[in-house]
Each structure stands twice: as C-alpha cells, then as structure tokens.
C-alpha cells in the first residue's frame, strides 16, 4: 500500500499528452472522444451483464427462459454501432488529412536514423547544410546503477535538434541501416525511418521549450538508448544558432589542416570513443556487440586497414561507416586513442591530414 501511496499525479501520467501543437491537440481530442464513446458503451453493456449475473442466478432460484433469437434486436445492434462508427470516422478523417498536409514548409530537416543515434541535416538552398549527430549522453554508470540517475535519464543528448517556433518545419525521415521511428509525443509526430526511402512529416511549434521522445521501432540492441530531443527556440535565436553552427564548422575544417599534439588527440579521442564506440566495444575496449579493441590485431596492426574499417565500416555487421558521422579531426583522434588506450600502447599518432589523404585516396 505504501507503494500506491507514493503515486502522485505529477509523476505518473496516465493519459496521452495533448502536446503543444495544434495537431497534437486535435489528436488528443479525437483520442478522448473515442475513449469516452467506448466507456459509455462499455458501462451500458457491462451493466446489463452484471445485472444478469446478479438477478438471473440459479442460486436465487431463477428459471431459465428458452428464447434464442430476435431479428429486430439483432438488426438494431448491427445498425446502431455502424452509425456510431460513421460518427467517429468523420473527425478521424479530417485530422488525418491535416497530418498529411506537408505543403508549404519554411524549413526542411533531413533526419537519418543510425544504430543508435539520430543525424540531423538542415537543408539549405545554398548548399551549406548544417549537419550533426545527436547521441545519448546518459553515462553508463547511471544505466548500470552505480550513479544516481538524473532527471532526464535516457532522454538527454549531446546536440538536440533545434527548430524555430511558429514556423512550419518539414521533416524528411530516412535511415542508414535498419528501420527506426522518430517520435516526439508532445509534437504528435511519429514517422518510421526506412533505409532507402524518405518519409515526410511536419510540425509547427507555437511555444519555446524542450521536447523529448524516443526511437519507437525496434532497431537492435540499443533501441532503448537513442532518444530524440527537440529545442524549439524563437526564430531570432534560431538564426543566431545557425550562424554559430556554420562558424564552428569552418573552424573545424581549419583545425583539420593543422598538426595536433598527442595529448590533444588522446583527449578528443576519448570523448569521441565514449559517444561513438563505447556501446558496442565497451568502456574498457573489452568488446560486446563489437570485437574487443584492447589487444585487437586490427587496432595494433596496419594503420591503413584500421582506418579503413573505422571509416568505411564492415558490410553485413553492426560496424558502421564512421566517415559519414565523424569529421577528419574526430576520426584522427579516435584512431589515435584506440591505438594507445586500453594497454594497446602502439605509440602511433594519427593526424587529421592522414585521414583526409586516406579518404581521398
């Protein structure tokens, strides 16, 4: 009973959220309408049944009648439900048509599902697309219960999708490997991300805020660990954010031309490893879904082979092509890190220039 007493309405949401968008509110109303119709029918039907259970029991000496059909009643309970269904179909149809109205979007975002992270790419007419990956940031220590879980446990990412408020944003949704599904309950948007095909969805968010969701199509071992986080900001703030992203991208490409120190590479490599590699290869490089990194003959062997596997992936396995996900600096850093961490100690230093040469060659 103490368990039940600890329940509070705030902690334990029992119903769908109406969300923040117009469509979300429409869907919520539709959901409530159908639910109440079902409740009314259910109460009526079960009232009849329970009355019969109470009044027509043998132990009360009730004698059984022998009637077993009535054409009038049977026609009535076929026709009336049919009419109720038509009444439900009308609002359902109009809401569905609204959901499918993808025209006249002011901003297009390409969303690509990867095992197990989302990639967001802002499509720009000038061709200067902003693109980045959005990884889970909940530490392994919280997942494996050695540290207290934070407020947004499993629903927090390093880089959220940022969209402007009061703007019709169109999402073009696809996937790189298996089928994923992009869902944000408060925006009432859920679309499957299907490799080789592009689906459309849209939203117009009226108020600023942070909206959280998850992948909703089983996509492999870490399906439960690829959240969606959307920041809705004012259009001005959005412009500023875009400019900052473009500036940062330029700085990155400058950095790729430089020679970095071993310490810099190791430090950045550790960060990259812990977002991109750790899920499959383990926090200590011990392996898991993927092979072990510690003591691996690939990692400690020929650099070009190691680089090729990290950059291009291994077909038919969960090992992805990371050249699409990491820039040259990050690739160089993570290669350096893998070749020197976990007791591998090869002493090899990989510079961004080496990776660039590799990818072009």
């Amino acid at each position: 009973m103490a368990l039940f007493a600890s329940f509070t309405a705030a902690q334990n949401q029992v119903n769908m959220s109406p969300g923040v968008t117009e469509i979300g509110a429409d869907i919520f109303e539709l959901h409530m309408l159908i639910m109440w119709i079902c409740v009314v029918i259910g109460v009526a039907v079960f009232a009849v049944m329970f009355y019969s259970i109470y009044a027509h029991r043998k132990s009360r000496g009730h004698e059984a009648s022998q009637f077993h059909e009535s054409t009038k009643v049977e026609i009535a309970w076929t026709v009336v439900p049919f009419l109720i269904l038509i009444a439900m179909a009308v609002p359902a149809t109009s809401t569905l048509l609204e959901v499918y109205d993808n025209d006249e979007a002011e901003l297009d975002v390409l969303i690509t599902g990867h095992q197990w992270k989302w990639k967001y790419e802002y499509l720009d007419e000038t061709g200067e697309n902003i693109s980045f990956f959005s990884n889970l940031t909940t530490p392994q220590e919280e997942i494996y219960n050695t540290e207290t879980k934070g407020d947004h446990y499993l629903l927090e990412v390093d880089e959220p999708l940022v969209i402007p408020t009061n703007t019709k944003v169109r999402f073009l949704i696809t996937a790189n490997d298996v089928i994923h599904s992009w869902w944000v309950p408060e925006l009432a948007v859920k679309r499957d991300a299907i490799p080789g095909f592009i689906n459309e969805a849209w939203t117009r968010v009226p108020q600023e805020g942070i909206y959280r969701g998850q992948c909703t199509e089983l996509c492999g071992a870490y399906h439960g660990f690829m959240p969606v986080v959307v920041h809705a900001v004012s259009p001005d703030e959005f412009q500023a954010w875009q400019a900052a992203k473009r500036g940062a991208a330029q700085a990155e490409s400058q950095l790729a031309l430089q020679t970095l120190s071993a310490d810099e590479l190791m430090a950045q490599g550790k960060t990259v490893y812990e977002t991109a590699c750790v899920a499959c290869h383990g926090a200590q490089g011990e392996g898991g879904i993927g092979n072990a990194i510690a003591g691996s003959s690939v990692v400690m062997g020929d650099l070009s082979q190691h680089m090729a596997i990290v950059a291009k992936g291994v077909a038919g396995t969960a090992m992805q092509a990371f050249d699409a996900q990491l820039n040259d600096v990050e690739l160089a850093a993570v290669l350096t890190y893998q070749r020197n961490a976990f007791g591998n100690n090869t002493g090899d230093i990989v510079q961004p220039g080496d990776v660039t040469g590799m990818n072009n060659g």
Binding site: L30, H31, I179, I194
Partner: protein, 526 residues
C-alpha cells in the same frame, strides 16, 4: 495390425505412432502447456529486468532475445497448438465422427512440432545469440543485421507452417466429410464452426508467412534484395507480407476462443446460445475482414493518405461483427439460470477483458490517434488483453469444462476458483497500468526506461509474477485431477451442457462414435 483390438498400444510407441484423435489431442495440449510455461519464463525475465529503471539482470541484446522468443513461443508454441489440441479432442466428438479424417497426417503434424521448437530454443546457445528482432521480425533487422541463428529460426517457422497447414486441412476434411447423419452445417456446435473458418484462414495465410521467411532466406544467403532498397527491394514490402499473414493470424488465435465461450456460456446459463445464425455470420465476416485490414499495423510507415483511410475504415468495421458476438453472449446469459463454476468464471473473465481489448483495438484503428499509440506500451496492453485474457482465458475455461469428460475425474472447484481470481487480478495488475505508460510515451521493446515510467512498471512486474505463479496452481490442479480427482461417471458432467460429446460415456472411451449417431435437434437447443 494383425490382431484387431480397440485399446491403446502400450509404452512410448502408443504416443509415437498413435493415430487416435484423443491421444494426439492430449499430446498437443501438454506440449502447448509446456511451451506456455517456457514462454512465460521468458516473460518473467522481461518483467524482472523492467522491475526498476537501469540495467540489472540482463544485457540489452539478451533482453531483445527474450521479447522475441516470448512472442514466438506464445503465439506459435502455446496458443495455436493448444487450440489444435482442443480441436482434435472435440471436433470428432462434437460432430459424431469416429476420428479425424486424416489420422496419419494428424500424427505427423504433431510430431514435427517438438523438433521445430527444440531448434528454435537451441538458438539461445548459438554464437551471436537467438533471434533478437521481435516476433514480427522486420527486415532488414532480421536479414542484413540478424545474428547467424536466423537461418534456424527460418527453418523452424517453415516447419510450424507445415504443421499448421496439415492440421487445418485435416480439420476441414473432417468437418466436411465426417459429420453424423443429420448434422447439417447450421446444426454444428459453434466451436466446430469457428474452427472450420479458422482452418480456412490458416490454409490461406501460412503459405504467405512461408513466402516471407523464404524471401528472408534468399536475401541472407543467396544475394537477392527483396527487402533491401540498395538492390531495388523495399523493407516495407516485408511488413506488408508479414501483416497479410499476421492480421488473419490474430483471428486464427481468437476465433476458436470465441467458439469455446459460445459452448460454455450457454451451458452455465442453462439456456441456448442467443443468435446462433448471426454468430456464424459474424465469425465469417470477421474472417473476411481480416484479409483487408493488415496495414493498420503500419500506419506510420508513410503510406499514401488514401491507403491510410481505406485501412482505417475497414478496421473500424470489424467492431460491428465483434460487437454482435459480445451482445449475443450477454443475451445468452440474460434471463438464464446462471451458475459460476470455474469454466463460467473464466468465460465471463474472457468476456469482460476481451471487450476491453476490443475497445482499445477500436481506438488503435483511428489512424491519426495511432500515430501517438503506435509501438508504445498501449499496444502491448491492447494485444495482451485480447491474446491472454482472450485466447488464454478461454483455453483455460475449456480445460476446466472438458477435463472431467476427458479423464472421468472432477477437478477441485475451490482450487479452480482460486486460480481464476488470482489470474484475473494478476492479469489486470500486469496489463492495465501498461495502458497508462503507453499513453504517457513509453515505447515497447526497450530494456530500460525513463524515470517517469518507474512506478507503473514496478506494478506491472508484480502483477506478472502473480499471474505467472497462478499458472503453476493450474498445472497442479490438472495433475491432481488426473491422478486423484473425484470420479465422475455421468455422461453429462454439467447439467446444462449440450452436444454430442456429452452423450458418450465418461471418461470418453478410446474410440467413440464407431457407429454414427443420428442428429435431429438443432445445436444448442434443450
């Protein structure tokens, strides 16, 4: 067979070589109960891991193997064979036939099942682990990205399909050819009707499933690209094929359950089934509609809006015949003379909880609302209300109802009632809160979840342990009945029971109706 004798053979050969419908029915029933316990064990692992947020007992990859095997074992190993077992025992006795029409095939369709499930279970011990792509095995997770054990999974599915098709052909042949004189179609008991329609569904869709897994096999091993866009295929094609099988499949599971409660409710209401003819037509309508609603499982794949509308309207229509059935059952009870033995309790439990599952099914049919429900725990709650409280409750009712006829001994009524109440309460504690977490946004098939779902998940796990434990009580009650239950010898074990199976001696002898009975009364009249 040189000597002509009527008793069963002795020893293990009785079971290996038997062509007797009662022996085969018994084997199906025990096999399915063993699978029910195995699938239930997998469910307990799932609920134990979900007891609290964070990873405690198993790794995410193994968790996915558990959800996959739980679904496959329950659908193909527990529920389907249990109803085939019931059909074997009852259909010949209900239509006045001496046995099934194709007894040797009957033996074969049972005996290929255990090896198939042995193979499926053995994948747990293979390198890369068991299939981990969900019981719906969507490509390309089940093809390009599958563990090597997927090939064994495909072979197991093929064998199950062969078994089901043979079983169905047998039922169709039996019902069409072996009815006793005077047993016209419209005099057949509802259970026979629902199984006849189910058998046609099975023959129609099991080959489609076989086609789907064969295409997977080709994609995995022979370089085809049915389900890979890179080679000109389409991953969504897999879903269309799977659900063209999968939706009729859920009716394959539920229609015999409808048949069972249509036998039991009249018996304990001491009143004929209300609207027999409309029950037959409603069953046939549901079966027909089941072929044109498959894509309601796929509202989020990005179908054209016209497709969404078609599948939404067609799906909503199913509510009409399903409603007719519920109204008929309640009208059967109305002004009857009701008593509440264990089979009746489970049937009423079925009626209430299945109707709840029907309501959530109607909600799920509404395409725009489904965008919020799809692949959440709301769906998990929905299909467990129709599969567990629907199929499993009705199967349990059937065992309590016919067990005295099968073994000539009465089960313990008080233990049966305790089993019902623990099951009923445990079931609802498990699955009712799942509606809430689903609506609040918890996706299905995740091994770990955000903190706001914690309380309801803990409740759900506690309920699952209660429900799981109650099945051991059921097992005990059945064994105790067979070994040392009080003997019954009345042909009609239940005073309100109607039908030919209650005209043979109790316990039912090894061979019944070697001489066909003459049927004059319509089914279900007194």
């Amino acid at each position: 067979m040189g000597d002509h004798h009527h008793g069963p053979a002795t020893g293990v050969t009785r079971w290996l070589f038997t062509t007797n419908h009662k022996d085969i029915g018994t084997m199906y029933l025990w096999f399915s109960f063993a699978m029910f316990l195995l699938g239930g064990f997998f469910a307990m692992v799932i609920r134990a891991e979900l007891f609290q947020p964070g990873m405690q007992l198993v790794e995410p990859a193994f968790f996915n193997q558990m959800t996959t095997l739980h679904g496959l074992v329950m659908v193909f190993g527990a529920i389907m064979p249990s109803f085939v077992g019931l059909a074997n025992w009852l259909i010949p006795m209900m239509i006045g036939a001496p046995d099934m029409a194709l007894p040797r095939m009957n033996n074969w369709s049972f005996w290929i099942l255990p090896p198939a499930f042995l193979m499926l279970a053995s994948t747990l011990f293979m390198e890369g682990g068991a299939p981990a792509f969900g019981w719906t095995f969507y490509a390309p997770l089940s093809t390009t990205y599958a563990p090597p054990s997927v090939t064994f999974f495909i072979f197991a599915i093929h064998i199950l399909g062969v078994s089901s098709i043979m079983g169905s052909i047998n039922i169709i042949a039996t019902v069409m050819n072996m009815r006793a004189p005077g047993m016209t179609y419209m005099k057949m008991p509802m259970f026979v009707w629902t199984w006849l329609i189910t058998a046609f569904l099975l023959v129609a869709v099991m080959p489609v499933l076989a086609g789907a897994v064969t295409m997977m096999l080709m994609d995995i091993h022979f370089g085809t690209s049915f389900f890979s866009a890179a080679g000109g295929g389409d991953p969504v094609l897999f879903q269309h094929i799977f659900w063209f099988f999968g939706h009729p499949e859920v009716y394959i599971i539920i229609l015999p359950a409808f048949g069972v409660v249509s036998q039991i409710i009249p018996a304990f209401s001491r009143k004929p089934l209300f609207g027999y003819a409309s029950m037959v037509y409603a069953t046939a309508s549901i079966a027909f509609l089941s072929f044109v609603v498959w894509a309601h499982h796929m509202y989020t794949v990005g179908m054209p809006v016209a497709g969404e509308l078609f599948f939404m309207y067609a799906t909503m229509l199913i509510a009409v015949p399903t409603g007719v059935k519920v109204f008929n059952w309640i009208s059967t009870m109305w002004r009857g003379s009701l008593s509440f033995e264990t089979p009746m309790l489970f049937s009423i439990g079925f009626l209430v909880l299945f109707t709840l599952g029907g309501f959530t099914g109607l909600m799920l049919s509404i395409a725009p609302a489904d965008f919020q429900y799809h692949d959440t725990y709301f769906v998990v709650a929905h299909f467990h209300y129709v599969m567990v409280a629907g199929a499993v409750f009705s199967m349990t009712a059937a065992v309590y109802y016919w067990l005295p006829k099968w073994c000539g001994r009465m089960y313990s009524e008080s233990m049966g009632k305790i089993h019902f109440w623990i099951s009923f309460i445990g079931f609802n504690i498990t699955f009712f809160p799942q509606h809430f977490v689903g609506l609040a946004g918890m996706p299905r098939r995740i091994p770990d979840y955000a903190l706001q779902f914690a309380d309801f998940n803990m409740m759900s796990s506690i309920g699952a342990f209660i429900y799981g434990a109650s099945q051991l009580l059921f097992l005990y009650n059945v064994i105790a009945t067979i070994v040392s239950g009080e003997r019954v010898s009345d042909e009609k074990v239940w005073d309100g029971a109607e039908g030919l199976e209650w005209t043979v001696p109790t316990p039912a002898p090894y061979h019944t109706f070697e001489e066909p009975p003459l049927v004059s009364k319509p089914a279900g009249t007194f």
